[in-house]
Subunit: 141 residues, 3 copies
């Protein structure tokens, strides 16, 4: 299956914590970056997820926030990937920002045109992509 | 690929409107229910989406809001599916609510425990599931 | 209309910018705080939104990120509301954090247990709630 979600990162499950409804699953990407996902327990079971399972993390571009000057900021978003802005596609309402985060991966975000302008986002600049664990869908082949 | 996203509905693309960055794609599910998705133009192109393409709409349970007494409600969320609560799984913070929406489909939502209690959600009751077009990921085989 | 979404804030539409697919709608809450929403053009039309329309902004708790020490941080999330943590409900995976943001409003966030611990979130502390414009649903009576 091919997905419209712009961000699909491959890795290996390195940790699972189950609660009553949800489970927190940590995926270690090729390259070492961890991605934390919160999915339902039922999904962990139906996908047969366990430590060592190869899986991918899928994140829709509209779930990604772009930040700059985050040095001292502390946010609850479990996933923060920083790098260099590779491309900016501007629209009247929305702007797409692609950030190269190393290891051959690029993360795409769709933010408002106003935010992109206020942050001064442009190709070649430094930016961080943030997304919540609850925005991550896991897939297994 | 198998996905952790609890809600995967099959259908056929019945409309596409492209903007500068995003496109609105309407999928008509088997059974006739329309699902509206907003995805990036780049995804429409890479998936080869066109009117008539078979595709599925993928929605993470945590993106779904549960509502009751929506008769007079007018909300911007483009997707509203109503039916009967089939199952409720309670946790200390989150509660999973599964709603049978006809055509053999069930939609799962993860809402807060407090909301489920306030709405009086229980198996057998009537409820509606709402989700934004921007929460929908499209997949093609 | 009763919704599971924990955050429903009343206000008046103070601005609308339309694109080809999406529109950016600014709502000024009672008290003066602006909330920015991105919804589809079709929703703007079907709800009859115009400057001066009374509407409410609906945000699911799971779409809200909690941050501290955000003084110099610059993020694309258009909506940032700061205040005092009123309540924390802990689960094994998820934690609910309620922040009083003035004007009689409280915003609820569901974040991971790990984040709440790392940020040292506790009742009485200062915290900010961030959410993307695309996470906001608009409703009219």
């Amino acid at each position: 299956m091919k997905l419209s979600a712009r961000n699909v990162f491959s890795g290996t499950v390195s940790g699972i914590t189950k609660g009553a409804v949800n489970a927190e699953v940590t995926l270690t990407l090729t390259g070492g970056t961890p991605v934390v996902a919160v999915v339902t327990n039922a999904s962990v079971d139906s996908l047969g997820l366990a430590v060592g399972t190869e899986a991918c993390a899928i994140i829709k571009a509209s779930s990604v926030i772009i930040g700059t000057d985050l040095h001292d900021a502390r946010v609850s978003a479990r996933n923060i990937m920083c790098g260099t802005v590779a491309k900016v596609v501007e629209g009247p309402v929305s702007t797409e920002v692609d950030v190269e985060i190393g290891g051959g991966n690029t993360i795409s975000a769709v933010i408002t045109h106003g935010s992109a302008r206020n942050l001064g986002i442009k190709a070649g600049g430094h930016a961080c992509a943030l997304f919540k664990a609850s925005s991550v869908i896991l897939g297994v082949s």
